[in-house]
Subunit: 376 residues, 2 copies
């Protein structure tokens, strides 16, 4: 007997449905993990007898199914079936249409869009108020950054900030890195030079997906900060020069960094897209781009596209300018935002401490905070 | 005057050549980083006068070029031009044809290929001998794993092992995790259950690319270990069922993990390929695969392909079986190898400590070791 029609007009595929069986034999009640292998399911699996009005484990109305040929019994909450059963293609923008990391789930911006409304929070409120913490982390997800104010300008405090939402990613630069003028710098960041908009560590794979910069002092002339939304910039390139955009999503570029103790190398396109072609990841760093090894025709088209994108990234209307004061800590998505700074006098006192962390930890913290709803 | 013919028959593109100028004005001698923006180069950039026989900065024979229209002067070592100038497509397998992470640069294996030659090293030799250290890390890169023997079976020693080649990736499981029977486990790994071949943490993005498991005691009945080369398995699937392979490279799958303090979610295909279609990343974990949200036709073809791949991964000839003894520490590539264990009696003493780290750190350590050549 085939009764799939009574379940859903689109016939949920049998293996999909069985793989989602919520019973305690199929899914560990302690861990939520599946207890069976997909290979444990019999060939010729099919839905047998179906009974509606059976209460599901959570007490809600459910649909009971007996499976052929093995006689297993599953009870699915009716609401779960309605929400999840495969039918037509999911609508664009539906929660499950992507992984939340692409332009589809972001609010992209140019500088003017954030005039007078830079996303920020005071440290005490962030620590003390769950709703402020939620809004703060949501800004990082939605806009790509947030500015925390009044963070105690203490040595290593940046690590404590990172640990409020995730885990520090240690690298060859250490658990944290000092952004100030060094006597023997292994990176231009540690000089007084101007640094144009870039993402950090493109020569690393996996790349650190979040960066924190905490200002301890900033008395130098110059040394102002800037942020550019790389997703907005890439979308502009796509609109203005679709061929250049396509080239930059396609050609892997070698990024490299080396010093006495380190030699890092990664090959990735400047613009990473998801399987549906949506912008998901920007890597851009003129200092560490290596030698491109491609046929001459590819090299020609890459350099034309690279120059176009680089020019676009320098448009003043894209760059949000601000100045970090002692106690400010900016947290930003290193897969999306480019950061920059103006040159500063090497004699002046400018000292930031930086650290890397990852988006998955921040997103997890935010999801757990959201379980509490809007209560404070 | 156009003299590019005298340089290379394939006409190195001007912007590429100039972007690789090695002079101290273009590239910081202290850091090796580029000092100019690609947008600093003038429109209409072209090679002007060319002079051969000019010594390069490293003293080797070089080619001097004067650039139009800005008059900049570059001297390229002749050997560098020969090795790097874009011409025809780079040969497959050439060092720059890929990023070293795909099947093209690996030695894939079935269990019999490693019979009697499991890659291993004694801890003292590994620590004391640079060549042993090189060979050990090369095994992880080439075969996907190595077994260190005689690692002191001390609490937290696994972190010291990780720090010999890279940086520990802290996660919600901690800096290290205890693999033993827990009273209230949040993961089946922390019970006595059989665990079939899987990769770890597919619900994390970025995923930890290396895993270490250090055995402190193993007196339980059962609890044997197994490793499967996921690249070999995926290549077999491609040979036997190309359509199923294609489906698994294309359909993003949601992986999820949640407990009281954590909620992680990532969407990735089971088989990740590079832009040339080469196998680069395997994610496979029946315990944490979530609900697939795709049109019914995609769900149908995904489940058929998923079952085929899962069956293939269980073929005994693919799985290398071994038993960890106290002091053994296995280090493996979590983007390539699947690991498994047989069930064990929950009453027996079996205790591993695990940690995550990343491939980029290991590859950097190996590159720096190689600078010393073959000297000990």
């Amino acid at each position: 007997m085939s009764v799939t029609e009574t379940i859903h007009p689109a016939h949920p595929p049998a293996f999909w449905l069985r793989d989602n069986c919520p019973c305690a034999e199929c899914r560990d009640p302690r861990t939520g993990q599946k207890l069976f292998q997909i290979t444990d399911l019999p060939d010729g699996l099919a839905i047998g007898a179906v009974r509606s009005g059976v209460p599901a484990a959570d007490g809600s109305p459910g649909l009971e199914m007996r499976w052929e040929p093995d006689g297993h019994r599953s009870v699915y909450p009716q609401a779960w079936l309605t929400a999840h059963a495969p039918g037509a293609a999911p609508a664009t923008g539906a929660p499950h249409a992507g992984d939340g990391r692409t332009e589809a789930d972001k609010e992209t911006w140019a500088a003017a869009d954030l005039a007078g409304r830079i996303p920020e929070a005071g440290w005490d409120a962030y620590i003390g108020d769950r709703r402020v913490r939620m809004r703060t982390l949501e800004s990082v997800v939605r806009l790509g950054f947030v500015l925390l104010r009044g963070v105690p300008p203490r040595d290593r405090m940046v690590l404590d900030v990172a640990r409020t939402f995730g885990f520090v990613r240690e690298t060859n630069y250490g658990e944290l890195f000092e952004v100030r003028v060094e006597a023997d710098p292994n990176n231009l960041a540690f000089t007084g030079a101007r640094i144009t908009p870039h993402t950090d560590n493109p020569y690393r794979d996996p790349i650190p997906t979040l960066q924190l910069l905490h200002c301890l002092s900033n008395e130098a002339r110059g040394g102002d900060s800037g942020l550019v939304d790389g997703f907005r910039a890439a979308a502009l390139l796509r609109a203005e020069d679709p061929d250049a955009f396509a080239v930059l999503t396609r050609v892997p570029v070698e990024f490299a960094f080396a010093d006495a103790r380190t030699e890092l190398r990664a090959h990735r396109p400047l613009i990473g897209v998801d399987p549906l072609g949506r912008i998901r990841e920007i890597r851009f760093n003129n200092r560490s781009i290596g030698t491109l090894h491609q046929p001459a025709a590819v090299v020609e088209e890459f350099y034309a596209a690279y120059r176009s994108f680089a020019e676009l990234l320098l448009r003043p209307e894209l760059q949000l300018d601000f100045r970090l004061a002692p106690g400010d800590c900016v947290v930003f998505d290193n897969t999306r935002l480019l950061h920059a700074r103006t040159a500063f006098a090497e004699s002046g006192a400018r000292h930031l401490q930086g650290a890397y962390a990852d988006l998955d930890g921040l997103l997890s913290t935010l999801s757990v905070l959201r379980r509490g709803g809007d209560r404070s």
